[in-house]
Amino acid sequence: MSATVSGFWPRLFALLLLSMTAAANLARADLSVEVIGGGSNRYPVAIVPLQGESLLPEAITATVKSDLAMTGAFSLLETAAGDALAAPAQLNAAAWQQRGARAVVYGKLVSLGGGRVRLTFWADTVSPREQKLSAEFDLAPEQLRDMAHRMADMVYEALLGEKSLFSSRIAYITQSGKEYRLQIADMDGRRAQTVLRSRLPIMSPAWSPDGTRLAYVSFEQQKPVIYVQDLVSGQRRVLANFRGSNSAPVWSPDGRRLAVVLTTSGNSQVYLINADGGGVQRFSYSDAIDTEPAFSPDGRQIVFVSDRSGSPQLYVQALDGGRNARRVTFEGNYNVSPTFSPDGRQIAYVRREGGRFKVMLLDLASGDNRLISNSAFDESPSFAPNGKMVLYASEEGGRSVLYAAATAYPGRVRLGTLGGQVQDPAWGPFNP
């Protein structure tokens, strides 16, 4: 280690220790990631440990690797600290090709003093040798994890040529005894933070399109009432507290209004309401249960559940097309919890079949239905903002866990919980 660097690391280390102590309480509620299965056509990539990383208490490389692995789109080659490369000129493309890599991601960390560190990294394909990515960031210690997700995003986008998802967040509800929490976390389940804590149930969190607010249902008034809460300030207000039950909020893509379910007609029906709580208008018309609305990404249609046919099925209705709802599920007698994919071509939903609850993908053009989960009690699916994964709640050995399934590969990731029950996951939008 050079003399210029030696004065830096102890200071950085001390700072990180401080922030780690503060984070220790949060860490207990964190989820952990376990990758199960994966695609057969995965992109083989070597993520070489960053030079100079060994003294960082929180390795960037490890997060980049677990991010890329959880998508099921990559197979990660074994690498060692000795593989570290500090410059593109040091890359032996032929040797990496022989080891099976199609691309190599490498880089270095150096001190800038004052607690800051400079991260430089590259991603090169090996045959033909082509530099796909070259980037440099100056970072404060508390930015290391955000940076790791950002680096994974850049690698994903440079190698696959499609929008990434690692800087997004998820919301979910935990229950431990009589304590309910609405929490948000990084999409890998780490860095959980509590948004709302209550002694009565909370359900159905819904992200505003800009990621700054959550709508949710809380039972703190002995009935379901919809609230909207600003995440940073904690300011919350009632969005809908009409006579009866108020539930199932979901934002329109432009963030100007929400679809909700009210019971003022004496049955559960879908309504539209402005984001400020005004302008309520009825959207669905049946004498049955209509619930679980979700907007199409262009904001022109809503898919919802209705048992108007005698069993819960999915219906799609245009916002400007009168009251006609088009039924889109025909197999099975229990199809619920629909949500549109970000490209609007698919609907993820839950089907009950033989006492098992499964997450399905409906392709709207072909009408084909495909199973993407594999446990007995899978519920509450939501798409990653790039559409490549679907997050859902499942149950194992009597405990609830979160899974993320790839939509284009058979891979799945378990976001294991360390305690309590975790339910109602909702994947947030791209970070602004």
């Binding site: 070259s134 960031f137 404060a140 930015q143 619930t291 609850f357 519920e379």
Partner: protein, 187 residues
């Protein structure tokens, strides 16, 4: 060899936990920033469960006992712990559950009180669809109360869906215990 944009971003110095979005100081197009995850505020709401003590009177005797009770407080105590139970996937108030409805109707008619009727379901399936099924049960009880002369304005039908199971687990006994409507009176 194709060179992609070389991106340089610099962090604003050690900022508070509410993190910063570093501004790029040098960039060959386009500039990228490290997304910063802001800390969020935690809101605490306590709320409270109504106390639940078992009534000393059977469902069949409930209406007569409520009518004979010396005052509102003792009449209300008679109703504690009595719920209306439903068959699987049903929201019809069965004949053997009418005593509880009649007892509550007698109370509401005598004291002009208000009541929250909370519908509940067993534990399987979509939370929101279960909320709607619980609502259907609460509305069914509301209609039965109205038939017995209770004014609609006295009754609010709401649902807890599968969120407030009285019995844990997935046995048929637990499911039967959870398919119910509760009566909650203002304290």
């Amino acid at each position: 060899m194709k060179q992609s944009p070389f991106i340089v971003a610099i962090a604003a110095a050690l900022l508070a936990a509410c993190a910063s979005t570093p501004a790029p100081v040098v960039s060959n197009p386009p500039a990228a920033t490290v997304p910063s995850t802001p800390s969020v505020a935690t809101v605490d709401v306590t709320g409270s469960e109504p106390a639940l003590q078992g009534s000393k009177v059977s469902a069949a005797q409930l209406a007569a006992a409520v009518k004979a009770a010396p005052d509102q407080r003792s009449a209300q105590a008679l109703l504690n712990g009595h719920s209306v139970y439903f068959d699987f996937d049903q929201s019809v108030v069965k004949d053997d559950q009418r005593g509880v409805v009649e007892g509550n109707a007698a109370f509401l008619n005598r004291f002009s009180s208000k009541v929250l009727v909370q519908g509940n379901t067993d534990a399987r399936g979509s939370r929101e669809y279960n909320l709607a099924l619980g609502q259907r049960r609460a509305e069914s009880v509301k209609q039965s109360l109205e038939v017995l002369g209770v004014k609609p304005a006295q009754i609010e039908a709401v649902s807890f869906g599968k969120e407030k199971p009285r019995a844990e687990g997935d046995s048929e006994a637990a499911n039967a215990e959870n398919r119910r409507a509760d009566f909650v009176y203002p304290q």
